[in-house]
């Protein structure tokens, strides 16, 4: 039910004290992205380093979380180790419903624990568990151990870090319930800086529902749209992995550090190939009947007497791009194996894969030496990458420690910035053209999810800066509403504005429904203001030369269009960063 205030749990790791706060603003910032930005602005200290103990780590859900299908995501906000500014990362699994059933709209963690700790929460529990014995453990082992230690199987979330997070890597993710992640911009590093190995949330409470039959009828109607139509088929069938073949065909799939955009080796890593040869089963985030999580299976002979070990690895388009085509790996089981090692290290797979691709080309070109890397890396050599993943996660020497701070940070030190595939952060898997490069490069989360720019590039839209700019701004605003609810973006066609209004109204949020458009514009601006408060100037973002060399189905990148759009978008962002008129 829509409440008057947000219920926010503030946990201070330095003092071991907690507080429940009633925070106003439900009608103005809605929840999710809006609430995360509001709380980050309230708690963060822009003048201090990202790893200062006072900097907050925020987890926020939205007004519709759990009440409707696919309202299943959590927004994590923090000051990023990558750029020292506001960052958002989103994840599902059981995180959102666990927070809902723990009775809080947001969790704000401040301070730093003196010793490694696990924060254990629930509707009637807040406790800190000594976790020295977990420090150094990989993200998967940590999950297994905590599942054994804590009660509440199936009705909890366990958000934890691996060695990359402990090493405060800017590429460290927060692993959520094994197969989902707060992947990008270094949230895992923030947990590491706080000596926080895991946050486990028991969803052991319940919430009231509105009286009457209207709510249940609306729920059933939306549920049927999601399950009885073909709307979501793409996601549970081959999943996002179906994009591999399509993008390769378009010459828009990054290969070998974006030295090519298409390759005949695609046959080994298509969505069909993964499904036919490796797909073990699907899984779902809690509250989502779609089940888009694809779990691949790979076995590995470790002894000549037919002794095998097996790995179960969640795959998607982005992880396959990052550890497959980007690294020149064209054999699905090898890709899954590298992905599994990335999981253990607790790295964001996109950032990690793209960083390794850069390191490989840097070695090839002599920009860095094998003495510096401590390992030879070659495109297509899975064994090398399996080892390198842990060198990156473990920050084992000067080179890997530098690279853990971001590919551009490494390029600034060693050279090779021209071929660093960095658009604000390591690129997502879309070499689709100018609009995407600008969108990720300048976008708030530097994510392919800020807007659907990669789809815009694939449309027949003309090279028109004004039109592209309008698309970027409007699409971001529409998505901000969804990420404030917090919906899975796969459900964006189901949750059109009218449906969202109905959902809010039936839960008693008529005022939120009536003010949805105004809230969208407000939250869009608020997030940019949060970013700007850390010193972000979009005018300073540059698109590396490698992206100008890309050749897609449309031909080579148009440098003039790219530059004009970059300036236009940067100008529009600057405007949004400004104070309210």
């Amino acid at each position: 039910m829509i409440t008057e205030n947000f219920r926010v749990l503030e946990v201070n790791l330095s003092t071991g004290r907690s507080a429940i706060r009633n925070v106003p603003g439900v009608e103005t910032v809605l929840g999710g992205s809006g609430l995360a930005a509001k709380l980050h602005m309230e708690y963060s200290r822009p003048g201090l380093a990202w790893d200062d103990p006072s900097q907050p780590l925020v987890f926020a859900i939205g007004p519709l979380t759990g009440f409707f299908p696919l309202m299943s995501k959590t927004v994590c906000a923090f000051t990023s180790p990558l750029h020292g500014q506001y960052a958002e990362s989103h994840a599902g699994a059981r995180s959102a419903l666990a927070l809902r059933f723990a009775g809080i709209d947001a969790l704000v963690i401040i301070g730093r624990s003196e010793r490694p700790t696990v924060l254990h929460l629930g509707a009637n529990v807040i406790e800190f568990m000594e976790a020295g014995y977990l420090w150094g453990k990989d993200a998967l082992t940590t999950g297994k151990l905590l599942r054994r230690i804590l009660k509440g199987s199936g009705h909890r979330t366990i958000m934890r870090i691996g060695p990359a997070g402990e090493n405060k890597s800017a590429m460290a993710c927060i692993n959520v319930d094994t197969y989902r992640h707060f992947g990008r911009l270094g949230g895992g590093g923030v947990m590491g800086a706080k000596n926080l190995k895991a946050v486990a949330v028991e969803g052991n409470g319940s919430c009231d529902l509105p009286p009457g039959k209207e709510y249940s009828a609306l729920f059933a109607d939306i549920f049927r749209k999601l399950t009885d139509t073909d709307m979501m088929r793409k996601y549970h069938n081959l999943g996002t992995a179906s994009n591999l073949e399509a993008l390769n065909e378009l010459k828009a799939l990054p290969w070998r550090n974006l030295q090519a955009t298409s390759d005949p080796g695609i046959g080994g890593i298509t969505g069909e190939r993964f499904a036919d040869d490796t797909l073990l089963r699907n899984a779902a985030c809690s509250g989502c009947p779609v089940g888009c999580i694809h779990i691949g299976f790979v076995r590995e002979k470790f002894h000549k007497d037919n002794q095998y070990l097996y790995r179960q690895v969640g795959y998607d388009y982005e992880p396959i791009f990052a550890t497959g085509s980007m690294l020149g790996l064209t054999h699905a089981p090898e890709v899954l194996t590298v992905m599994d090692e990335v999981e253990k290290a607790g790295l964001d797979v996109m950032s990690g894969g793209v960083a390794l691709a850069w390191a490989t080309e840097a070695l090839e070109k002599g920009v860095v030496t094998q003495e510096q890397t401590g390992i030879d890396l070659r495109f297509g050599d899975a064994q090398g990458y399996m080892r390198a993943v842990h060198m990156l996660g473990g920050a084992v020497n000067d080179f890997w420690r530098t690279l853990a701070g971001g590919t551009m940070a490494a390029a600034a030190r060693y050279g090779g910035g021209d071929f660093a595939c960095v658009l604000g952060q390591e690129m997502a898997g879309y070499a689709t053209g100018e609009v995407f490069y600008v969108a990720q490069g300048l976008g708030l989360r530097h994510s392919h999810l800020d807007t659907g720019a990669y789809t815009y590039d694939q449309s027949k839209a003309p090279k028109d800066v004004d039109k592209a700019l309008t698309f970027l701004l409007e699409d971001e605003r529409e998505r901000v509403i969804l990420t404030s609810m917090v919906a899975c973006l796969f459900a964006r066609k189901v949750y059109d504005p009218e449906t969202l209004r109905q959902c809010l109204t039936v839960l008693g949020g008529q005022a939120l429904a009536d003010g949805l458009d105004e809230a969208a514009a407000r939250i869009q601006k608020l997030r940019w203001q949060a970013r700007a408060s850390g010193g972000y100037d979009p005018m300073n973002v540059r698109i590396p030369k490698r992206f100008l060399e890309v050749e897609t189905w449309k031909g080579r990148t148009d440098p003039q269009y790219l530059e004009e759009l970059r300036l236009a978008y940067a100008g529009a962002i600057r405007e949004m960063c400004g104070p309210e008129n």
């Binding site: 419903l97 197969y179 052991n204 009231d208 399950t227 899984a283």
Partner: protein, 134 residues
């Protein structure tokens, strides 16, 4: 007399739609726990899911343990529930051999009444409401 049976749990994707439907439609709340069917990962997500629900015992140990008659033996197996008679003693939950009865924080028990409200919300037909044999 119909029984709810989780006959195809190997298809389960862990979405909890069944539990949420039970809580929403039968118990009028939003919850993972306040439901007659609850889904657990069996040893972590990597090894699949199991359902906790009433296995239609006859005689039912929970009904036998209930001191007030809030839970009564149902003809053909399982129990009927009269919530007004419950004193939140927890004897039923303790008596269930398969941990199919959950208690909320106030001690109220939640047990499957085999109404089948959850069945249509399972996206993979893991559940069926089947006529009792014999």
């Amino acid at each position: 007399m119909k029984h709810l049976i989780a006959s195809r749990m190997e298809r389960c994707i862990g979405c909890h739609s069944c539990s949420l439907a039970c809580a929403r439609l039968v118990h009028k709340c939003l919850s993972w726990e306040n439901a007659g069917i609850r889904i657990l990962s069996s040893g972590g997500l990597s090894t699949g899911f199991t359902a906790k629900l009433c296995l239609v015992c006859d005689p039912a140990p929970c009904a036998a343990a209930c001191p007030t008659g809030s839970l009564k033996q149902r003809k053909g197996g399982g129990v009927t529930q009269n919530k007004k008679l419950c004193i939140q003693c927890g004897k039923c939950a303790a008596a269930c051999p398969v941990d199919a009865i959950a208690q909320d924080r106030q001690g109220n028990p939640y047990v499957c009444i085999h109404c089948g409200s959850c069945v249509e919300f399972c996206p993979h037909d893991c559940l069926e409401l089947r006529e009792a044999e014999g």
